[in-house]
Structure formats: structure tokens, C-alpha cells
Symmetry: C2
Subunit: 393 residues, 2 copies
């Protein structure tokens, strides 16, 4: 797959175990419009702090990313290491240091092994043009069991463009914490200011609508680069093709987000939780996230137990406005609760059938107003506990 005007590279720098790619580079041949969305955790890793500053500008040229070490909780030394990493890359490709973004994922609290970074960056730069986005997707994996890549093509002003995205998993990556990383590259020409509006909105509907265990990492980062190599008229708010671009970008983001949930640690189920009829969309999302993060709900999913009472309770303590006597609850299209009361044994039998499926939906209708939200989650299995309890023992 080719995205015009971008070059990729991935190498083994011995930051992870031998035999695995762990250092990667994405370079745009020309300045690319850029936008970033970052973890809301008050404890932010060094690369997050640097990228937050640098993505305030309209454009950037490159993203360098390592797996195996998160460069988080590493103090001022961690900031120096992240800056040196970008400087080495900038010198190698001949751009300014602040045009290079940096991301890290892996162990927290351990200094980035700069000797290996310094040794790895020259071959990384030399590999540009020979590598692929797939290679970068592999290089950023940690506990992920498969690489995550989504591509869409669209038309604007008679020119075809491509939006390609890669991501690595949530579910709190061993041995310390999850780091959700996502990189989107497109050869479409996009107005930088508009990109900085639509990208956070798309992330909100996708990566911010999934949860594996409710823990928010220190390193979560989503970045997009749009370099205009497709030659289309610049897309901006209300321009021809703008709506289609947003729709395709949303598809890429949501597809990647769903892949992350499906690859959640120990996941055996993929569940969409929709809350509708809420007072506001925000209330709906609060209630849906409360259900999606409930350990009790998630163990019931794992146990294939049509345990609507736990879902009802999680909606109740979410903080969203609820009138229990009006609430309806469905597993797929099976109504389990009507006007706050159990629909009966027949519904239970049919609901249990739904929960035997690998993928199903839960819908809670609050019957208050028009607020609605959907989030995606996995179940809580023995393997989740095993993966997260046993890593270092």
C-alpha cells in the first residue's frame, strides 16, 4: 500500500526482546498538516509533553516511535532523552527538531535506553522508502496479538486520496500500563486549522468511546498527518468533499478503535453498549461508560450470564439522570426490562442466547430525552487477570 508523499521505516533496536521490530519512523516528504489528541492523565509521559507543544504548529514532518519503553515517570532526564531522539531524527532527515514528533510505549519508570536509540536511528533513517506502514504497525505492538491497520480511499476535486491508520492496543500494556497509540496518515490536502477541529471530534467518537479496563495511560496519543500529495483542493470546513473526508476519517478511527477492543487483554467478547433517551449526549456517554467499566457487568459477559440487574445498577450509579420506572434494557433485540421491571423468564432464556455470541449489543433506553451514545468494551476474563497479574512472576 502506498500513501503518496510518505515514507516509512522500522528496525530492531533491541529495546524489546530480540527478533522484534521496536523503532519506527513515519516521514512526510513535505510539511504535513498535523493534529494530535493526548491522554487526559495528569501524569503524562515525556513524549506526550513534547508533542503537545509541537502539534500547536500547523505542520510537522515526522513521527519517531519506539515500543518496549514508555519514557514515562522518568523526570527531567526523560524529557532530555525524548528531545535528543527527535534531534537525531531531524538531523538524519534534514528538518528542524521541532518538526519531529516522538511517541513511546512500554515499560514505565525506566530510562529510555539512549545508547540503543542512538545506534538504532541511523539505520532507521537509511531504511526510509524501503519500509511500509505495516512494518510500523508491527513495530509499535506490545501485548497486541495482531497488527491493526485500516485504509480508506476517497475523492476530492477529482483527485483520489488515501487515509491510512495504524494503532496499538489498549488494555494496559505489560508490565506497567496501556499505551494507546494511533497514527493516521493521508495524502489529502487538508486545512491545518480544520484538521485540528475534526480530528479530536473523531477521536472522541472512536478511541474515547472504547474501554478495556477503564485505566487511562500516561502515554495515550493519536496523531494525524495530512501532506496534500494527492493534489486535491485543500479540504476545509464546508468545502467540497469535506463531509466525505470526515466520514472516511471517522471510519478509519472507529475501525481501529474496535480492533483495539477485540484485541483487549483476555477478551472473549466484543460488546457495544448504547444508551439512548438520556437527558443529554454527555449523560448517555457517562451511563454507557459506567456499564462498560463495571467489573461485575464484564464478568457476567465472560460468564454469558444475562445479568441485566448489574447493568441497571451501573447505569444507576453513573451520575446520569435516570428514572428507573421508565427504563428499558435490551440484549440485541431481546427486551429484558420494561418500565424498570424484569420482562420474565422467557426473556431471560432468549437473552442468555444473545450472550453466548462473540459479539452482541446492550441497549438501555432511559426514555427521558434524545441523548444517545455508544461505547465498545470487552469482557473481564481469567486471562485478563492472568496477563496483568503474572507478567513478572
Amino acid at each position: 500500500m502506498n500513501i503518496k508523499g510518505f515514507q516509512f521505516s522500522a528496525v530492531e533496536a533491541a529495546i524489546k526482546k530480540p527478533g522484534r521490530l521496536d523503532l519506527a519512523l513515519i516521514v512526510s516528504e513535505t510539511p504535513a498538516a498535523v493534529a494530535g489528541v493526548y491522554t487526559t492523565n495528569a501524569v503524562k509521559a515525556a513524549p506526550v509533553l513534547i508533542d503537545q507543544e509541537r502539534t500547536k504548529s500547523d505542520t510537522c514532518r515526522a513521527i519517531v516511535v519506539n515500543s518496549g519503553n514508555a519514557n514515562a515517570c522518568t523526570g527531567p532526564g526523560g524529557m532530555d532523552d525524548a528531545r535528543e531522539t527527535t534531534r537525531l531524527v531531524a538531523d538524519g532527515i534534514g528538518v528542524a527538531e521541532d518538526e519531529v514528533l516522538v511517541c513511546s510505549t512500554g515499560v514505565i519508570g525506566v530510562p529510555l535506553p539512549m545508547d540503543r536509540m542512538r545506534k538504532g536511528i541511523p539505520p532507521l533513517v537509511q531504511g526510509l522508502g524501503k519500509g511500509t506502514l505495516d512494518g510500523v504497525a508491527r513495530a509499535i505492538m506490545t501485548t497486541d496479538t495482531f497488527q491493526k491497520l485500516e485504509v480508506r480511499t476517497g475523492m476530492a476535486g477529482g483527485r483520489e486520496y488515501t487515509i491510512a491508520g495504524i494503532a496499538k492496543g489498549a488494555g494496559m500494556i505489560m508490565p506497567n500500563m496501556a499505551t494507546m497509540l494511533a497514527f493516521i496518515v493521508t495524502d489529502a490536502a487538508v486545512d491545518p486549522a480544520w484538521l485540528k477541529t475534526i480530528f479530536p471530534a473523531g477521536v472522541d467518537r472512536s478511541f474515547n468511546a472504547i474501554t478495556v479496563d477503564g485505566d487511562t495511560s500516561t502515554n495515550d496519543t493519536a496523531l494525524i498527518m495530512a501532506n496534500g500529495a494527492a493534489g486535491n483542493p485543500v479540504l476545509s470546513a464546508g468545502s467540497d468533499g469535506a463531509a466525505e473526508f470526515v466520514r472516511l476519517l471517522d471510519e478509519v478511527l472507529l475501525s481501529l478503535a474496535k480492533l483495539i477492543v477485540k484485541d483487549g487483554e483476555g477478551a472473549t467478547k466484543f460488546v457495544g453498549i448504547t444508551v439512548k433517551g438520556a437527558r443529554t449526549d454527555a449523560d448517555a456517554k457517562r451511563a454507557a461508560m459506567s456499564v462498560a467499566n463495571s467489573c461485575l457487568v464484564k464478568t457476567a459477559f465472560f460468564g454469558q450470564d444475562a445479568n441485566w440487574g448489574r447493568i441497571f445498577a451501573a447505569v444507576g450509579y453513573s451520575g446520569a439522570e435516570v428514572d428507573p420506572d421508565r427504563t428499558e434494557l435490551f440484549f440485541d433485540d431481546v427486551k429484558m426490562v420494561e418500565n424498570g421491571v424484569f420482562a420474565g423468564r422467557d426473556a431471560e432464556a432468549r437473552g442468555t442466547e444473545v450472550l453466548r455470541k462473540k459479539e452482541f449489543s446492550v441497549t438501555v433506553d432511559l426514555h427521558l430525552a434524545a441523548g444517545e451514545a455508544t461505547v465498545y468494551t470487552s469482557d473481564l476474563s481469567y486471562d485478563y487477570v492472568k496477563i496483568n497479574a503474572d507478567y513478572r512472576t
Copy 2:
């Protein structure tokens, strides 16, 4: 054990499996000052709604409680059933219906089996005077593996009084949800208005400072009755002996709360989480609860992994004010993090030793101001998943 002026009874009413006490009664021979604290869940069980109204009065006479059925999500019929239960008890002991409180714990969404309640209440009333508080403690158990009873004695105005409390477990009781119930009885004479102040405060420092899985039930209820049979001068704000009464009450509440955590579903560890140096006490509690509810932190405790990074991240996303570069973190007295940076491999080895213990503490010092809070939690084990996933399969 004897608490003057109180009578107890517990019977088998076939609401739970045969051979287990499931219906119990606490009666004060005279009107007892009363206070109650209830679940904050917007979905409240019928008995909670009734008791909330009835404990607005100064005094009550009795508490009737069943296990095996929560009478939650049962609609208007559930309210009728709860009221009829209190009416039958009131008629049996010769008091007004609204002097009787009612609690239920167990299955949600299934109507209370009123035929069994109606059959069980006459022998329940006849058993008064022959039963014990221990019997009531047994009758309210669901997935609890041991009964929870704490007693303290104090002196006020030359008279000895007793504070006795019982509780049943958190951890979301099978098959639908946890119901934390706690009943405190004391023969001390206590001003009702003052009791309504000190009891919620004590509950806040105890039952509201524990978490097993972060799920808040529809039925959580804590009640206290103080009947004055000890003959002491009435205790009230600032009176002689008031401070000691509060201290002893807090001891009973906190001891019961700790027993609930120790009996948490699948628990193998008992961990106190203290956050100090926070901007406010509320910030400290927010951060401590965030750590205590993190699935990643709790699986690390189960795995005996000195994984301070997960704790650090959970503090970071709690919403509490945090300056990562000032934060310290301890396992017992082993400093793992200083000024936001890992204390090194030696600390890791010693921290791992701490986590091998059955009970230990985690302390996070934010070094911002004087806010402080301690909460108690358990780990997240295979057995938690097993208990909550496999109950009905």
C-alpha cells in the same frame, strides 16, 4: 452478648437455599433514636425508598431484614411487598407500621416471595427474646464466607453502654449485585438529631472508604438504633462522653468495613491506600479511590507485582490535582518513587517483599497541601472472576 432493651430473632423462611437463616428481626423494647445512610445509586430498591422516609423521624422500633431477594427493580409491586412486610411485623409486635424499617439483599428483579414472608413472620416474631445478634448476622449473609460482628463498650455518666454492629459483604452479591447492609444497635441514650449527624460522618470514614469492585448497589443501607436502656444521660453534641461515643462508634463501623473487604469476593490481599499531601481531603479520597478501583492495580496486587507505575497512573487520572515531579510512593515503608522518579532496583526488590504479605499499605504523598484520606480494598483474583462469571452456569 446482651444489648439492653433489644431483642433479636432469625428464622428459615425458604427464601435462600434450605438450611440457611434468611429472615431476621431486631426490636427495641422502647422507641430508639434512629439514623440511616443509603446507597447513592439512582436505582434504589423498594426497602431503601421506604427506610429513607421513615428514618426522617426521631425514633423507630424495629428492623426486619431478609436475604435471598433484594426486592430491587420490582416496580410498584415491590413497594407494596415491602410495606406489607413491615405491616405484618408491626402488627406482630404491636407498634405502628412506620416504626418498622425493612431491608432486603439478594437476587434483583424477582418479586419478593410474599407467601414465604407471610409464613415466616409469625415464627420470627415468636422467636424474639430467644434469638441473638449473631443469629441476625448469619441470616443476612449471602456470598459472605463468615459473619461480621463487632462490639465495643463505653462509659457515659457512670453508666456502661454497649455498641454492637453487624454487617454483610460488599463485592456484589450473587447473582446480581452487592448489597452492603450494616445494623448498629446501642443501649446508649443518644440525642436523635446528633445521631443523624455523627452516623453519616462515621459511615463516610468506614463503609464509604472501602471498595471491592467499585460497583454501588441498589440496596446499600446502614442503620443505627440507640434505645437509651443503659440509663446514661443523653449523649449529644459536646456533652460528657460524646467524643468517646463517636470514637467507639467509628471503631465498630471501621472494623466492620474492614471485615467486608477481607471477605471480598475472591480476595487474597487486604490493602490500605493512603493519599496524603493532597490539595484537599476530597482530592485525597478521589485519588485513593481511583487507585483502589483500578483493575490493573488490583491484578498487580494479586500477582504480588510491585507495579508502582499503575498506581501512579491511577492517581494521575483520578481528577485530583497532581504534580508528578513532587510525588512520592511507598509500599509499607519502602519508598518506590521519589520526586516522580523510580527509586531503583533495590527498592523494587524490597517492595516486592511487601506485596507478598497478606496485608500491606500503599501511601502516595502528593506534597501539595495537607489533604489526606485512607481507603481499603482487596485484590482482583481469578476467584473474583469465577464467583461473578460462573454463578448461574
